[in-house]
């Protein structure tokens, strides 16, 4: 059973429907005991990271997710949900994240080092470049994924970047360390490539992988 975290932000319906297509049982919840009992957790999210962190802190879910990650069971953050896994964000004057992965969330510049303007949000299909082998990328071939975001992760811990995409800057697209994973794109909206990554996550969940 996968718990999809409902903290008031995010397209829960699309993620849950994708799990249904994979035949994976899930529940949508914001309850501490239900989350801690789940075999895997998905943190969705769209919108502003400061609003999301405020909601997660107010409801106590932030601490529950930290405990969950510490238990070694698989956790997957999607889009804003992935950004929440990191230490901090500079969005709207800055805020702290869950701190499960090392790195900071910063704005996509919108202008190249040569002074050429480009569009933000990074919205559309971009090529995933596979960087490292990981269970979450098993049998995933280089393909396109659907991104919608204005901020991206920067990290000095290069080994957590499993795949990336180029959009002027190098955008970490799939990140992972031990049992904590994230995708900057929406796997549930990324056709075959995305569905394969979600399927890999459900395999990790069913195998009860505890890699901490």
């Amino acid at each position: 059973m996968i718990a999809i975290i409902d903290y008031g932000m995010g397209n829960l319906f699309s993620v849950s429907k994708a799990l249904e297509r994979l035949g994976e049982p899930y529940l949508i919840t914001n309850k501490k005991d239900e989350i801690l009992l789940a075999d895997g957790v998905i943190v969705p999210g769209v919108g502003a990271i400061s609003d999301a962190m405020r909601l997660l802190n107010e409801t106590g879910i932030a601490d529950v997710l930290r405990d969950y990650a510490a238990s070694g069971k698989p956790i997957l953050g999607i889009c804003l949900g992935m950004q929440l896994l990191f230490e901090a964000s500079e969005e709207n004057g800055g805020c702290r994240g869950l701190g499960l992965l090392p790195g900071t969330v910063v704005k996509i510049p919108g202008v190249t080092t040569q002074g050429e303007m480009y569009k933000v949000p990074h919205m559309g299909w971009n090529l995933l470049q596979l960087r490292r082998q990981s269970a979450i990328l098993k049998d995933v071939e280089e393909g396109f994924a659907y991104f919608v975001h204005s901020y991206y992760v920067t990290t000095e811990t290069d080994e957590i970047i499993l795949a990336d995409s180029l959009y002027d800057v190098c955008v970490p697209a799939v990140v992972g360390k031990n049992n904590v994973f994230g995708t900057q794109f929406h796997p549930e909206k990324s056709s075959m490539t995305g569905m394969k990554i979600l399927e890999n996550f459900t395999v990790l969940v069913s195998e009860g992988v505890s890699v901490k």
Binding site: S14, K17, G47, K119, W125, L127, F144, V148, K189
Partner: protein
């Protein structure tokens, strides 16, 4: 680098897909879920559903259509038409739509864009603009109510205002080109695309594959939308993509 997107548009009336030629004639062209699956398999990058139901019941049906499509589709889709309140947006986005598109309601009350952007994020907010060239003004002017009402807004001013208020994407329809099948409005699209910092979807006028390469290479569009040429199988998404790829357009 982002690929250029090809977006089939499905006009939905009382739960069925129809297509207006120059906003007037209508022909029934099928079931929304069937068509959505068909376009997904063909390589469509996204879909737009435009609800043209006149009745309250018709619009309620749209929520069911959205839910049925969301259950089926692993690509993003936008819903527009008849959205006037934050509550309307909530219903559609919770039913599984990825973005909502505002047109008349945004012109009538631009604050609505901001309200939606603050609640859902700018990436969910598409502002649809129906544009028509005006000889007297010497530029394009915004029309609302399905192209029936001329407004005071010049297109280039309105799109900047819409983005300032939180629009994450502009769906730009050329009323001059719509239904003519002689190609997209390159001058209009280029003017808008270079005026705003968000992606622009060109719409209106697609009659063949070469029109798509033109609008990407010359019109600076980020995405191109078409309806009837896909629905009536005059060409396919796959054919268009193969053609424009050959012309040097980066596609998925």
């Amino acid at each position: 680098m982002l690929t250029k997107r090809i977006i089939p548009c499905l006009d939905v009336k009382e739960g069925r897909v129809v297509k207006g030629i120059q906003f007037v004639q209508l022909r029934d062209a099928g079931d929304p879920v069937e068509l959505a699956r068909f376009y997904d398999e063909q390589g469509a990058d996204e879909l737009v559903f435009l609800d043209i139901s006149a009745s309250h019941e018709g619009r309620k049906t749209m929520v069911d259509v959205v839910q049925a499509v969301a259950a089926e589709l692993a690509i993003p889709f936008t819903v527009g038409g008849g959205i006037h309140t934050l509550d309307d947006m909530k219903k559609l986005l919770r039913a599984g739509a990825d973005k909502v598109s505002l047109n008349t309601a945004a012109v009538n009350r631009p604050e609505l864009i901001t309200e939606g952007a603050e609640f859902f994020g700018a990436q969910c907010m598409v502002v649809a603009v129906d544009a028509k060239y005006d000889q007297d003004c010497g530029t394009w002017v915004v029309y609302t109510h399905g192209g029936r009402v001329k407004t005071e807004w010049k297109v280039l001013e309105w799109v900047k205002e819409a983005v300032r208020r939180g629009a994450g994407e502009i769906l730009l329809t050329s009323m001059d080109c719509d239904g003519e099948k002689k190609g997209f409005d390159i001058a209009l699209t280029k003017a808008v695309s270079t005026a705003v910092t968000v992606p622009v979807i060109a719409s209106g006028g697609a009659g063949g594959a070469s029109h798509f390469s033109d609008i990407f290479l010359e019109g600076k569009a980020d995405a191109a939308l078409a309806a009837s040429i896909f629905h009536y199988k005059e060409t396919s998404v796959a054919e268009v993509k193969a053609y424009i790829k050959d012309k040097g357009v980066y596609v998925r």
